[in-house]
Amino acid sequence: MTTTLPDAEGLLADLIAQMRPALTPETALVGIRTGGLWIAERVHAALGLKTPCGALDVSFYRDDFDKIGLHREVKPTEIPFDVEGREVVVVDDVLYTGRTIRAAMNVLFDYGRPKSIRLAALVDRGGRELPIAPQFLAATVTLAAGESLELTRDASGRLALHVHKS
């Protein structure tokens, strides 16, 4: 069985439409590297938000470090605003177990105490292992066993979803 995938650019437009009425210009977006950051940057530009977009790498906060070690390509986390008292939206591409989001929240709390954290995701593929739910979500996708989803970005900046079989 092959899963049919929705168009990522169409999903992004849906996500932006959902977020537009719910965000103020002071709301801060933080994208999880790498796919989440691509989406956060697009949402940030489309909504004309004032607070600069943050980039999050959760490698130092993962709960599977003891099993798989440090990620080969750790990139810096950049939070170019004061987290203290701020409304933050964490942005990721594919929502799965919820463990990455748990790690992302812990990173944010080491920068300060946000007023609130909401979650935006392009796609929810189910399989949650933690009590985490998105406030903004463009699509739910059911995958066959052994399949995983990947977001890519081509040279022109166009986003696309792909299925990988393990």
Binding site: F60, G69, L70, D110, Y111
Partner: protein, 318 residues
């Protein structure tokens, strides 16, 4: 379990211990530098800690005194949320006649996860690495004249920070290369990272014979050695060297090999000056240079924490 040709690597070719930079693949050095770059951001935050090594026990085993290196390893381990135990062995068991391996076996029985080892004898960290249980990691924090890999790495991080790329650089290492584990680690690291011209500068009595075999150019005249270099790496002149027949006097040494503004002017105008510390002002380096615009000696110390965080977290995960 380990590949016989490099006792630091595990069967998958990943770094399990850090004993020396000699023979390590460039990819591993670059991975350490890149990871350290991410840790620099962590050390500038409100909360300067990440939970990576939570619950792990890191033992600082210093068989030879050190303040700066021990402290930066301790800070690095604490910022990774590890528990740190400091042991100055020269004032405990060693004086009671316990062997290194007995000391280490006892500490391993206390559920150690990592040993940071400083020892006056070259090869002591290798000896320990060969005898510890498979899950324990060993980091060489300086052994005899042999190696000081984390110092070499933090120097490379500093150079990359200011110069961006290694492949067009001319680098001079100046001073007591003969007795310097720092110089050996620097030369290996610079070669692995592709620096095309490495120079060593010093009096004949303080340069190892056949040092050219390491792929470096030898200069006894400092003016020639510093001409047009991008990076000047000063070495510490250890006080005990001045008592033997190797050197006439500190004043005489300063005249010929001390880094002054006049001598530094021969290097490129944007050259940077490094020193592993602690400095002997007025012996190997003039205060005007040590505190001058081209000095990056204090950033080296800051970067040293990020480098040690990177090494510890990569080892612990492999």
């Amino acid at each position: 379990m380990f590949l016989s040709n490099n006792p630091q690597l595990n069967a998958k070719g990943e770094l399990h211990h850090l004993l020396s930079l000699e023979g390590l693949p460039r990819a591993i050095l670059v991975q350490i530098l890149d990871t350290a770059q991410s840790f620099v951001g962590v050390t500038q935050r409100e909360v300067k800690k990440v939970p990576l090594l939570r619950g792990k026990a890191v033992f600082n085993l210093f068989f030879e005194p050190s303040t700066r290196t021990r402290t930066t390893f301790e800070i690095a381990a604490k910022r990774l949320s590890a528990d740190v135990i400091n042991l100055a062995i020269n004032i405990s068991s060693a004086t009671k006649g316990e062997s290194i391996l007995d000391t280490v076996a006892n500490l391993a029985a206390m559920q150690a996860d990592m040993f940071i080892v400083r020892h006056a004898a070259s090869g002591a960290p290798h000896l320990i690495a060969r005898h510890v249980a498979e899950e324990i990691h060993v980091i060489n924090a300086g052994d005899g004249r042999h190696a000081h890999p984390t110092q070499g790495l933090l120097d490379m991080f500093t150079i990359r920070h200011y110069k961006k790329d290694f492949t067009g650089l001319r680098v001079a290492i100046v001073g007591d290369v003969l007795h310097s584990r720092v110089a050996r680690s620097q030369i290996h690291a610079l070669s692995i990272l592709g620096v095309p011209e490495i120079r060593v500068v010093g009096p004949k009595t303080l340069l190892p014979s056949h040092v050219e075999a390491m792929g470096v150019h030898v200069y006894h005249d400092m003016a020639k050695g510093l001409k047009d270099v991008d990076v000047v790496m000063m070495l510490r002149l250890q006080n005990e060297r001045m008592q033997g027949a190797l050197l006439p006097s500190p004043q005489e040494y300063f005249k010929f090999y001390g880094l002054t503004a006049d001598k530094l002017a021969l290097a490129r105008p944007d050259a940077i000056v490094l020193h592993p510390g602690p400095m002997n002002r007025g012996v190997e380096i003039d205060s005007d240079v040590a505190d001058g615009k081209q000095s990056v000696i204090l950033p080296q110390v800051t970067f040293g924490i990020a480098i040690r965080m990177a090494v510890m977290s990569i080892l612990a995960g492999n």
